[in-house]
Structures are given as C-alpha cells and as structure tokens.
C-alpha cells in the first residue's frame, strides 16, 4: 500500500521516480542503514574497543543523514519549483484568454457592422484582428506545452481518412502558397488510409508543417505534400525547396524554444514552440515524426501513424 502511496505522490510531482522526493527519502533511508551496518562491520575488524565502533557508526550515521537530507530537500525544492511554474503558466494563460476573447468578439462585431468602421480603417482593424488571433494562438501553444510537460494532453481520437484529411488541409493552404509565389502540390499514392488520431490535434500539426514549408521557401520554390503507405503505416511527407536546416542545428530542431540561425533571418517572430509541439503531439497520438534537410536545398518533414481497419472498432486510449 505504501508503495502505491509513493507512486501516486510522485505522479503528483510529475517527475521520474529517481527525482521524486518521497522515493528518494526511502532510498536514502536504505543507504543510511546499509552504511551504518557496513561501518560497524569494518570498525569491528579494525578495533576491539566497542566505544570506538559506536563512535564510528554514529559519525557515519550523522554524515549520511546530512547528505540524505540535503539530497531530498534539493529535489523537493526542484519539484516544487516545477509545479509552481506549471501552475503559474496555467493561471496566467487562462487569465490572458479573458481580455483576448473580449477583443476578439468586439472586433468581430465592429468589422461586421461596416457602417461603424470607416473604409480606410478596415486595414488597421484587420491588422488588430490578426495580432489578436496570434496572441490567442500563442496562449493556446503555451497551455499545450504546459499540458505536455505535465502529461495532461487532452486527446479525443477518432478514425479518419488521412489521405482526404491532408488533401483538404493542402487545399486550404493554396491561397497562402499563391501569395508566397510557391508551387504547392499534393500527391496521394495510396487511399484510403485510415488512422486513429485526434483530428483537431493532427490538423494543428499538419498545418504547422505546411505553414513552415511555405514560410521558409523563397518565391518561386516548391512545396510538395505526399501521402503514402509504408508497410502497415500511413505516412505524410512535406517537402520544400526552402532554406533548409543547418547541419549543426538539426539535433536541436524539436527542442522547446529552439530556432535555427537561418530561420531567424527569414522570420524574426516565432516562439520556437511549433516543432516541439508537433513532435510531442504526434508521439502522444502514437505516431512517429522525423525530417531530412540540407541547408540551402530544402527539407522534408514526415510523420507516420499505424493503419487501422476502417471496419473494426478501435479501443480508445
């Protein structure tokens, strides 16, 4: 029962067992007992005086107690700081959503009643609206990062046809690609490809990859999305002829807040949360993700999900 109690406490801290204060307390206790026992055996071998043995054992016990206490307290502080940070981000993000939704709805009302907004102010209003949406997206990303770190991602998986799902998203990106003067193509090598995923999360992931591909490809470039079957998996590849990722940055590309040097030159804004979230969400949904890239030539980002039979029911995760 006590073991279960410790596991549930560690779950509350959301740290691994070896960083979990209650578990470390028990480990340090065991080390203390073992240390005292070993000291008494060694001391008895080197001294016949019981008083000397007692002193040696007591000194060792005191030493181990101090070390153990320091270790447990330090990890306790770390775990508390991590929990407080997580709660803080959560509260602040939720609080930010209130004024952001007020601005969003009031702007919507204003833009719908064109009589109120003079025609020459419409562009300005459009900019305010875009920035409002950007802030909302940023807050949503922060909340999602927090949920991933605390292992609280909300998934609502259903069966979807990945081929038509991706095709629809690509079609939605045609105006953006045209605006960027990039050629956007969709190739489907196999259909239907049925997978079991949270469609809202996968939409976010796929749009993020499409957005990056177009954004980091210069005018006149090409972005190709390919959907194929690879053994028992469905695979989506997003290939661009863009700026690519420098070899030295490739190992860090899925890290939180990381942005490569050449990406910063093309686009100064951006949080470096996108690809971190892409990877975390794909993995949380049971898929895998990767990329191949050459600086100056372009990149291919891909993800795969196990294929499921469209006829059978899938047990929810």
């Amino acid at each position: 029962m006590n073991t279960f109690h410790i596991i549930s406490q560690c779950r509350k801290y959301n740290v691994s067992l070896w960083s979990c204060p209650p578990f470390l307390f028990i480990v340090m206790g065991a080390i203390n007992i073992a240390g005292m026992f070993t000291t008494s055996v060694v001391a008895q071998r080197f001294s016949d005086d019981p008083a000397m043995v007692i002193i040696a054992v007591s000194m060792m016990a005191a030493f181990l107690f101090v070390v153990g206490n320091t270790v447990v307290t330090s990890f306790q502080r770390l775990a508390d700081a991590s929990r407080i940070k997580s709660e803080f981000v959560n509260i602040v993000s939720h609080q930010l959503r209130s004024p952001l939704s007020v601005i969003k709805w009031q702007l919507e009302l204003m833009l719908d009643q064109t009589k109120v907004v003079p025609a020459d102010s419409m562009v300005t209003m459009g900019t305010i609206r875009l920035q409002n949406e950007r802030m909302i997206a940023l807050v949503n990303d922060l909340l999602e990062v927090n949920r991933i770190e605390d292992d609280r991602v909300i998934l609502r998986p259903t069966k979807i046809m990945l081929d038509s799902f991706v095709e629809q998203l690509v079609n939605g990106y045609k105006p953006f690609a045209e605006q960027a003067k990039d050629k956007l193509s969709f190739i489907c090598e196999a259909r239907p490809l049925v997978v079991f995923v949270d469609d809202a999360k996968l939409r976010w992931v796929t749009e993020n990859l499409l957005d990056n591909a177009i954004r980091y490809t210069k005018a006149g470039g090409e972005v190709t999305i390919k959907v194929l079957r690879a053994k028992n998996k469905a695979r989506v590849e997003v290939t661009d002829s863009g700026i690519g990722i420098p070899a030295t940055d490739q190992a860090m590309i899925f890290q939180k807040f990381f942005r490569s040097e050449n990406a910063l030159l093309v686009r100064a804004e951006g949080t470096g949360l996108g690809l971190y979230l892409v990877k975390s969400l794909i993995v949380a949904m049971g898929g895998s993700v990767g990329f191949a890239s050459m600086e100056g030539k372009g990149s291919t980002f891909w993800y795969t999900f196990p294929l499921v039979d469209s006829g059978t029911t899938v047990q929810k995760k």
Binding site: R97, L100, S101, K104, W105, E108, L109, I136, N140, R152
Partner: protein, 121 residues
Amino acid sequence: MKKLLIIEDEAALQDALQKTFTAEGYEVSQAFDGEEGIKLAKEKIPDMILLDLILPKKHGFEVLQDIKADDSLKNIPVLVLTNLEESTEVMKAIELGARGYLIKANYALKEVLAKVKDILG
C-alpha cells in the same frame, strides 16, 4: 421567438453576445452572476442557457447542478462558454449534463451562434 439566457460576468462579452443574438431575432436575458442566473432561469424558462464557469456568487458548475436538479429547468440545453480548458473541467461539465463546451477565445461569435442554432434545431 427563441428565448436565450446568458450567464456571464464580463460585461463586454455579455454585450457582444447580446448584440449578436438579438440581431438574429432571439429574446436575450442577461445574468451577471450565478445566483442571478438561476433566478432568471426560473423566471424566464429560456429555450437555452449560455453559461460561463467562473462566476461571482455561484460557480458555473453549481449553477449547472441546480439547473439539472430543478424539474422545470432540467430539460433546457446548457452550452458552457468558458476559457478554462482542462480535461477535468470539460469532463465535469459533460457529466453534469452540459450539451456543449466552447472555449471563448477559440470561437468567433458566428461559430457560437451556429452552435446554438445547431442545438436548438
């Protein structure tokens, strides 16, 4: 004319919702706290209730519980409109009988309107 009750403490959000629904021909009643919400629900017997969760005097979950415990109100569909998004909150709202759960920051007024029309049929 369909009757709508909006329970929301933020005046600017109330204003946006009221203008949107009135323009669409709904008869809108507004409550700015949980207690007033229950009182108005009993008085007006609306066709649908839009409910915020963090409310003064009475939390949205308690309001929802009270609505579902009252024979004259329990069949009124309740759409939760909030900025809280934790799985525990969504689950609790659905368990307590809410017909839908929308995150205000992620939905345009037009989408809220479409959802209400969809529920009211």
